[in-house]
């Protein structure tokens, strides 16, 4: 039982990384990115392509995944900034439909692009044995080094995002624009730039999540929608607009899935959905809602 809980928490850490970007974008500009999962997969494949390129240059040893990840994060920042500034800002407004349609379209484009470039074969990012290494705990338990690192990164990312939001000038700008865009512009903020910065940060988290997903398991071009679903469920269970809430939601989802898998290998994801539905019925605003209006 203890092991199931532990594994569930570690799985939840990964889901938290899937969901943080979604939580940030929704919190700042009420934008639901339905291509979130596909961008995560795109991040994983970008890392795979980067690894292949490094290997072709004769640099295929152990530090390659780290190098690729470090190179990918600033790229993702720039990509997110440009995407928001020149594409998604044009879809924002009172009506949520345009942004849903555009991100849904992006989702289809990304899936087919990846299928065209990489075929439908599942692939993974070569980690030089990191994905099978484990540490032994008392009572005969063992947990993987990689899942533990992912969990630590999830905690770190959640804490960093919460600090950014509550303790910095940029965070103040995020909240002000989210509260009242017109008045924020009256104060001298350019909401288009603020939105672009929010998406840029969200895409760093998306790329990080993608690389880690590719290291932990395999990825294939059609995986995105399922990851989107997990991200969604974590955000909704936790409550919109609260990053710690997103973390708790992700952990809860991970643990329930793990318990489901324990009961029957076919049940994990299904049990996760059931818990999500129960939360939605009993507490539609989520466990720790922060967003108003």
């Amino acid at each position: 039982m203890l092991e199931t809980l532990l594994q569930g928490m570690l799985l939840g850490g990964l889901y938290c990384l899937f969901a943080l970007g979604q939580s940030l974008m929704f919190g700042v500009m009420r934008l639901t990115n339905t291509a979130q999962g596909d961008f995560i997969i795109l991040g994983a494949f970008a890392a795979i392509a980067g690894m292949n390129a490094l290997a072709a240059l004769g640099w295929g040893h152990g530090s390659a995944p780290l190098m690729v990840m470090l190179a990918l994060l600033p790229l993702a920042f720039g990509f997110g900034y440009a995407l928001q500034r020149w594409v998604l800002n044009g879809t924002l407004g009172r009506d949520p439909l345009p942004s849903l349609v555009v991100t849904f379209g992006l989702s289809i484009v990304i899936q087919n692009l990846l299928l065209e470039l990489f075929s439908a074969d599942p692939r993974s990012i070569e980690t030089g044995g990191l994905n099978t290494a484990s540490v032994a705990l008392p009572a005969g338990l063992a947990i993987g080094v990689l899942p533990l690192a992912i969990f630590a990164l999830a905690l770190l990312a959640t804490g960093a995002l919460q600090w950014l939001f509550n303790g910095t000038r940029l965070g103040r700008a995020f909240r002000a624009v989210s509260d009242d865009k017109e008045i924020a512009e009256l104060m001298g903020l350019n909401s288009n730039t603020v939105y672009a910065l929010a998406t840029a940060i969200a895409f760093v988290l998306i790329a990080l999540a993608g690389v880690l997903q590719g290291m932990r398991t395999t990825v294939s071009p059609a995986d995105g929608p399922l990851l989107l679903l997990f991200a969604f469920e974590a955000v909704i269970i936790g409550g919109m607009g609260s990053f710690w809430g997103t973390l708790i939601g992700a952990l809860l989802l991970g643990i329930t899935q793990q318990i489901g898998f324990r009961i029957d290998p076919g049940w994990g994801i299904w049990v996760g959905h059931i818990v999500f539905l129960i939360v939605l019925v009993l507490r539609p605003q989520g466990l720790f809602p922060k967003t108003r209006g």
């Binding site: 009242d180 008045i183 924020a184 512009e185 104060m187 350019n190």
Partner: protein, 233 residues
């Protein structure tokens, strides 16, 4: 003498509906001017046009000798016009202090900063860490005024400071205005309370259906003139 802020033939639209039909308006340096008029006369629209929230043509608004009509709001606040919006509109997820700091985003140099504001409205210092919208109406209005002052404007626009406040609170707020303007800041106050508007200002404009129906020195206007301009009988 040329005016500090001048509107000439200012028109404004909400979609196809025209809200302002050629407003001529002047504000001199150091002067407090009041705008009165019935609901829907275009008072708030006029202030929104001055701050860039409603579009206008460049030469319709001149500030400090430059055409500023149609500039984005952020650019106008950097040049020195700040608005205390109708209904206060504080940022709900920001604390009192953070709301005030938002006003300083334009980073204009000048006398106003947090310590000075807390001296003007001591209650805000006690409540600095609370959410802005958890305060009483009068205290929220102080935050809204403070937020505008933090941009160190040379022109302060106040849209219905008394809206929804008790008379004693209104008096307290307006008592602070002469102090605020003591260093040469100009102010435009939009006000429903005609007596208050006359007491606080040097000159008055009365708007009616998007036109200036009456203007003159505040103490020289009679009740009859004002009610005629108000209702257009």
């Amino acid at each position: 003498m040329t005016a500090l802020l001048q509107a000439s033939g200012l028109t404004a639209f909400y979609g196809d509906a025209q809200a302002l039909f050629g407003i001529d308006f002047e504000l001199n340096a150091g002067e407090t001017v009041a705008i009165i008029g019935a609901n829907g006369a275009g008072k708030s629209t006029f202030l929104k046009a001055l701050t860039g929230l409603v579009r206008s043509r460049p030469d319709q608004i001149r500030f400090d000798g430059q055409a500023i009509g149609g500039l984005p709001p952020g650019e106008i606040v950097k040049r020195g016009i700040a608005l205390v919006p109708e209904g206060r509109r504080l940022f709900a997820s920001l604390s009192v202090e953070e709301n005030l700091l938002m006003g300083a985003f334009a980073q204009r140099p000048g006398p106003w900063n947090l310590p000075r504001l807390f001296k003007l409205f001591p209650i805000l210092e006690q409540k600095r860490a609370l959410p802005g919208t958890s305060l009483s109406g009068g205290q929220q209005q102080m935050v809204a005024i403070g937020r505008a002052l933090m941009s160190n404007p040379s022109v302060l626009l106040c849209d219905e400071l008394s809206l929804g406040l008790a008379p004693i609170v209104i008096k307290e707020i307006y008592d602070a205005l002469p102090t605020i303007c003591a260093e040469g800041m100009s102010a435009v106050i939009v006000e429903q309370d005609v007596a208050m508007a006359q007491r606080m200002s040097r000159r008055i404009y009365c708007f009616q259906e998007g036109h200036v129906a009456l203007q003159g020195a505040s103490e020289s206007l009679t009740r009859e003139q004002i009610s005629q301009a108000y209702f257009g009988v």
